[in-house]
């Protein structure tokens, strides 16, 4: 039972991080109809800049600058490429983000090399016990920060003029444009927010249970794809649920590895994809995604 609770807690904390990434993914999709395959390398960019800058600048300024760099990179991608392709087919847009991803990822991996860069989190690698259930401090803080960010996001999404503008343009782009909503600005803002969320997620993703920033962080970030798809690509709430679901699945599959040994070692890393495929079989648009209607 203790093991179960421990895995659950760890799964939720991991899921909170995934939810941050998936949320960015979903708002990009809502605002500009792009499935951003760049997201994994954006996250790695965030982690890399934080790790590299924390020595000269100190931890907190490094985090701030790292978040800014990532947001700016996302902004650049939107302005220079995505914005020019407004109205292009979804597949072309996805492919162009793959192109960006190839360049960014290659450069980052070249910079990182075989090393594992260390991020000097002030909370270090300690873990705490809550009623006999152990969890690393990093993950605990991640849960808190992710919770705050997600609540803040949902409040902004609901009440701020940006949120209203974005929901309007996601609902019906043309009508929103006619109402004077500037699509380009909405889309650029969405990319910036997604960049910020990715960088914050990166900060915690490379903390305690994980040794540090390495090229492997990219693979971890990719698991936010199933999270976003699982919840439904155009549902912000779905991203949250999907993230948690994927986090818990992964933690459970890794924790009960002994019992699942017939599936092979390291099944935890694949479990998110298996869950995703099963869910998609039953609900092709994800759990909370808008069903695609075809009118003739």
């Amino acid at each position: 039972m203790t093991q179960f609770l421990s895995l659950l807690l760890n799964g939720i904390s991991l899921g909170a991080i995934y939810a941050l990434i998936a949320l960015g993914f979903v708002i990009i999709f809502k605002a500009s109809e792009v499935v951003s395959f760049t997201h994994g390398s954006l996250l790695l960019l965030g982690a890399y800049s934080i790790a590299r800058l924390s020595e000269p600048l100190g931890f907190l300024p490094a985090v701030l600058v790292g978040v800014l760099i990532t947001a700016f990179a996302a902004f650049l991608v939107e302005r220079l490429i995505i914005n020019r392709l407004r109205g292009a087919p979804v597949i072309s847009l996805a492919i162009v983000t793959i192109g960006v991803d190839i360049i960014l990822l290659t450069e980052l991996i070249r910079q990182i090399g075989p090393d594992i860069l260390n991020v000097p989190h002030p909370w270090g690698g300690d873990s705490v016990r809550i009623g006999g259930v152990g969890i690393s401090e990093n993950r605990l803080i991640a849960m808190g920060v992710a919770g705050i960010l997600i609540v803040a996001f949902f409040v902004a999404f609901k009440y701020s003029s940006w949120g209203v503008a974005m929901r309007a343009s996601a609902e019906d782009g043309e009508a929103a444009a006619l109402m004077g909503i500037r699509q380009g600005r909405v889309s650029a803002l969405a990319w910036i927010v997604a960049g910020v969320l990715a960088a914050v997620a990166a900060l915690f993703l490379v903390g305690a249970p994980t040794p540090g920033v390495s090229a492997a962080a990219y693979t971890v970030a990719l698991r936010a794809f199933p999270a976003a798809i699982l919840g439904g690509l155009d549902s912000t709430g779905g991203a949250l649920v999907g993230g948690l679901l994927i986090g818990i699945t992964e933690a459970m599959a890794a924790g009960y590895q002994e019992q699942l040994s017939f599936l092979g070692r390291g099944f935890g890393e694949v479990a998110p994809y298996v869950v995703m495929i099963i869910v998609l079989l039953v609900r092709p648009s994800g759990l909370f995604g808008t069903k695609e209607l075809t009118r003739v």
Partner: protein
């Protein structure tokens, strides 16, 4: 799903209409002659060039087969798939397992193999890859557009996991070596039988070159004929509008399943060829990067164009190898271990940039570029440089659906 992707439709269409137009131009005689000359050149090449180029050629041939297959799926039918690496793996592993010998050489675990003739391994590998595609197609048929792209991403990771885990068959993390190919007793290895043609020793590289040539040519011709046939037209309609396709009597689900079958069979053959060209298989050879590179090939070559896929495959496969070969001559590029940019990495930058530029400026890819050039050459009056960006005007048939809600594949 109509604006940019309709460009390749124009590419294939003009390809199909070319003979009719060519009848009025000197190209009528020139084109077959040029093709014959190219074929002759490829046939005699092993007599003159070094082993490196022949090996590159075989790798390119394998990639061409795979890229043509992926292009049928993504370019022609509009089903974004990142799972190509998975189907490559199915082909490669099946071949290795069926034609390989049992026993553990070098690794601790005992490898199993059936030891059947390599041609059986190749055929079964292709069939198994097709079967895997067919099994995935019910999922694929339910998913639209981008959902399919991400779901197929999952398949790659599951595939790599299986490769790592199922050690007796796949060799596990370290992989296993691949048996040499042979056909009815004629080995494609270095000797047995010793072979000299015009005084040039025909060793593994030379023999594989011809194998690659035959397979790539067959794959090319098959795909080209498929696209010009009724099913090919059906697939293109499917891409432009699923609703329109089903109204025209195209069984959408059945065609999606079939194109998945064909595409993954291509991938299976390509996987076998890849295994033969490298000589061993390992999980890292079938990761997401491979899928992405294949996607880069068909985007660069031109979505929907068979010749484009071949061009793109040649470009993407040969570039890193050539960079590596000439690392000391090229500026900025260096061999691994020295300062500067390693060959593979330099090639990656180029692919990434090329993919972005192609989508931004020439959605038809290399094939579209060639078509535009050719059209300008034929009709100088029409194709002035200022008119060329609006080349859509030259393609009266692929108009967008006039009624936006009828676009079945739009994601709203």
């Amino acid at each position: 799903m109509s604006d940019t992707l309709s460009a390749p439709a124009g590419a294939t269409r003009t390809g199909a209409a070319a003979p009719a137009r060519a009848a009025r131009s000197p190209m009528r005689f020139l084109k077959p002659l040029l093709l014959l000359a190219l074929l002759a050149l490829l046939l005699v090449l092993p007599l003159y060039v070094e082993e490196f180029w022949l090996r590159t050629g075989f790798a390119v041939a394998g990639a061409i087969v795979g890229a043509i297959g992926l292009n049928l799926l993504v370019g022609t039918t509009g089903q974004l798939s990142l799972a190509h690496a998975f189907f490559l793996a199915v082909g490669a592993v099946s071949y290795t397992f069926i034609s390989g010998e049992s026993g553990g050489l070098g690794t601790r675990a005992v490898l199993r193999g059936l030891g059947l003739p390599p041609i059986v391994g190749m055929v079964v590998g292709v069939l198994l890859a097709g079967l895997a595609g067919l099994l995935f197609s019910p999922i694929a048929a339910r998913l639209r557009g981008i959902y399919l792209g991400v779901a197929s991403l999952g398949l790659v990771f599951i595939g790599v996991h299986v490769l790592n885990t199922w050690t007796p068959v796949t060799g596990g993390f370290n992989g296993r070596s691949v048996p040499e190919f042979s056909l009815f007793g004629f080995s494609f290895g270095n000797d047995d039988p010793q072979l000299f043609v015009l005084g040039v020793p025909f060793r593994e590289a030379e023999r594989l070159w011809y194998l690659g040539l035959v397979l790539a040519l067959a794959a090319y011709v098959f795909a080209r004929n498929l696209l010009r046939s009724r099913p090919g037209r059906a697939l293109q309609t499917l891409r432009d509008s699923e609703v329109a396709a089903s109204v025209m009597g195209v069984n959408v689900q059945a065609y999606k399943a079939r194109v998945f079958l064909v595409s993954s069979m291509y991938a299976g053959l390509s996987g076998v060829m890849y295994a033969l060209s490298i000589g061993s298989i390992a999980p890292e050879s079938f990761g997401l990067t491979v899928s992405i590179l294949y996607l880069a090939m068909i985007v660069l070559g031109g979505l929907g164009s068979v010749a484009g896929a071949a061009l793109g495959a040649a470009f993407v496969t040969a570039l890193p190898l050539v960079f590596q070969q000439f690392a000391d001559v090229l500026p900025l590029v260096s061999s691994p271990g020295e300062g500067g940019i390693a060959a593979g990495i330099a090639a990656r930058y180029l692919f990434g940039a090329a993919v972005i530029l192609v989508v931004l400026f020439e959605p038809g890819g290399l094939a579209g570029f060639a078509n535009r050039f050719r059209r300008r050459g034929r009709a100088p009056g029409r194709g002035s440089p200022s008119a060329s960006p609006a080349s859509a005007a030259d393609r009266p048939t692929d108009t967008d659906p006039s009624d936006p809600p009828a676009q079945g594949s739009s994601t709203r």
